[in-house]
Amino acid sequence: MSALQDTLTRVLARHLGRALPIRSTSALAADPVDAIGIATVKIVTEEQIQAIAYGPLDAEPTVIARLDPIGRDVADLVPFAEFLKGAVQRALAREGEMRIWVPHSETVAALDVLGHRYWRNQTARPEIVRMGEICRILAHEALFAGQQVIADSAQLLRDHAITGQSRTEDGHLDALLAWFDAQVADPLEEARMRSRFPASGVLINTPDRRDDDRVDRLRKEAKSQSGARQRATHDEIRRILSAGARREWNLMVSARRAFWGLELPTTGLEDLVALSKRRLSAALTQGHFPARRADKVAIELDELDSAQHTTESCMLEVDDAARDCARRAGASIAGRVVARNQPRPGRRPCTIEVETAQTVVRTRRDDKVRIVGTNVSGVVRDIAIAASGGTRVRVEILNGVRSTGVLVPGARVEIVEQTGGYVRLRELSQAAARGVWMFFGDAAPVLQATPRRGGSPLTVARGSRRP
């Protein structure tokens, strides 16, 4: 979406007093049968989870309030570890299908830090170590574009709708939700009022409600207390922490309701679901191995890049609004087939000429493209200004030459770039064995000058282009 479109949609949302959907389909597939939720409350900067709410989404959550979150004893986290283990076992039984709702990305970060602390901790109990590993796997999966495991409710709302407030204000989940609630008469004022209290997985600490400082003080006091007084102090700590975790949980539940309330179709995401399942089940069964060596990091970057391309491609295929944006940016070409050159019907070679009213197209000669909604793909061979003032694109069809529906003059087509993900697994896997200097050397090898053949590189490239 362009900056101008984003801005004017915000103006409109402010005028209407409600959030406006900016996609025509959901980027998240429907929830599997036993989707779960996790909400955390951490100690600020400490990044230690001091309260955690978890459980199935259609029931009251189980809440663990930790009296001594910075202590070495993590026995209080065992019920959560068992819960996570059970959820993972069920997911593995369904080939990696899993859905965990969280209020916002801070929860994922808190789980990741929890994972970092315990996944290689040799003194921790095995279930805690496994919990740590699962947390790291989940946080890693959350990095992939289009992943279907972690449902970050705040991000989902931001990706699918625009409110009448600034982007920075959209970062506050409670303020964001004011724009999705039909009961709220003035979402602008309501959002600003709600933003007084944090919605980022920490306790409230405003001048009139110093929950965080109070818990900190109570913990200190409890250390010098005993008996009934200590129990009362502990109860008070638990009460504040549980309320904080429940507040986060409720935000997540409201955000989930708001998201599904947009009633966007969840079809066409099968590829993304399959990729997510494959990644998750592999990691859960084989373990988490973070990339540290240069060649491994390169593979991981390729995987992330590939996920991004696959997601973009999928969105262009299924989402009209995304395609509309792409069209206006010139990344998608909507037009009509005006000519077909196919000497033998149903056989290659086959070339079509597409004319569009669009004057701005980002596609260039030799780009691989496909026709949306079909199995037809090919390569752009020429782009020229059409007699009508628009653009004329010549595409050599390489796949789907037998398609009768779209490869005929008069057919309406939409052409988008073919951006399938590609991970250079084989090449990069051999890098270590071959000691590639880019990854394992300190200096570039000295290349001997060779006589130039065939003119400049541009001339060579031009010569290799098919007419």
Binding site: T7, V11, L12, H15, I43, T206, P207, D212
Partner: protein
Amino acid sequence: MSLKGATALVRLAQNPRCEVLGAMVLQEGPETRFFERVVGTPYDREYGERQSSKRRGTQFERNAYAGDARLLREALAPVVGLEPDQIRVRNLLDDYPGTKDDARVARLRITRGLLKDSLAGRVAPHLVIQPQLLVPTNPGPRAYFFIAPDVLVWSQQHGLYVPADLKSFVVRENEVSRADLARVRLQLGAQSLALVHEYDRLDRGKTSVPATGFLIFSHPNGLRPHAPRTEDLRGAREAVRIGIESFLRHRERIDRLRAGAEPYTVAAELVPHFEERCLANCVMSAWCRSTVAGRARDLGDVPGQLLGNLELARVTGFLLGTAEPANDAERGIAVELRRIAAEHGVRVA
């Protein structure tokens, strides 16, 4: 927490065009008092560092400095180019503890002595803990900013001291949150600039202080220093320099307006520069925002840049038929807005 030292310089660097911020830096006392005096109501939002954060930060520093800064020596040994046991440490808090100005001045005097010794080739410590530096802005009120890096590290590569700051943020796989990094880089930039000034005092510009510094974050397990992170401070140092220049300009105007009165008294006459990020780090953001209420900037920085000073009511007027576009730019906006409205099923006049 008042706007003093590096915090003030970081804030000025982030929003150099804001005169209200300049007045807050000039005003004695905490920002919230400035707010209360200007607005007339108590500040009701969260403000300042939480107790738990303070405790963690203090504990992290205590761990790092314990045992003649053993953990710090181990972490910074590659920078100094010596074995940890060979590194000489001087903790100025041992000499003059506290944050009162007297203690700061005493530490400043020692720091200057150590810098002089190192330039003269005399024996000097490799790590100076809690040194004190100064950025002068005299003549005028708020004539200097005390800048206190956590550590000055003798860099073998540069043959000079460079600043290092300890932050108790947790590092995961060598990555730190971007927002945290941006702020601490500016802080380090202010320290580097102060170091430039101090070296300049000693040898009149002969020493070229590198625009580099070290950030030392915390391991996820325990409060142990992570491997230092080298930061390129060219941008941060320049941003802080621009911030100081702006402050000097603001100070001149504020002094003219207030004629000896307290800075908050002229807040209404100053020109605020509201930005989206003010919402997250300035107590006066809501007050400054009122100057752009109902205008495009109220929707954020990008809408402000795209639509300029246009009133939102005028933009929606293009849709409702209550306003007519006055030029080509407005006609373009009207066409695009009508298209978006139609997409969302909103009736267009």
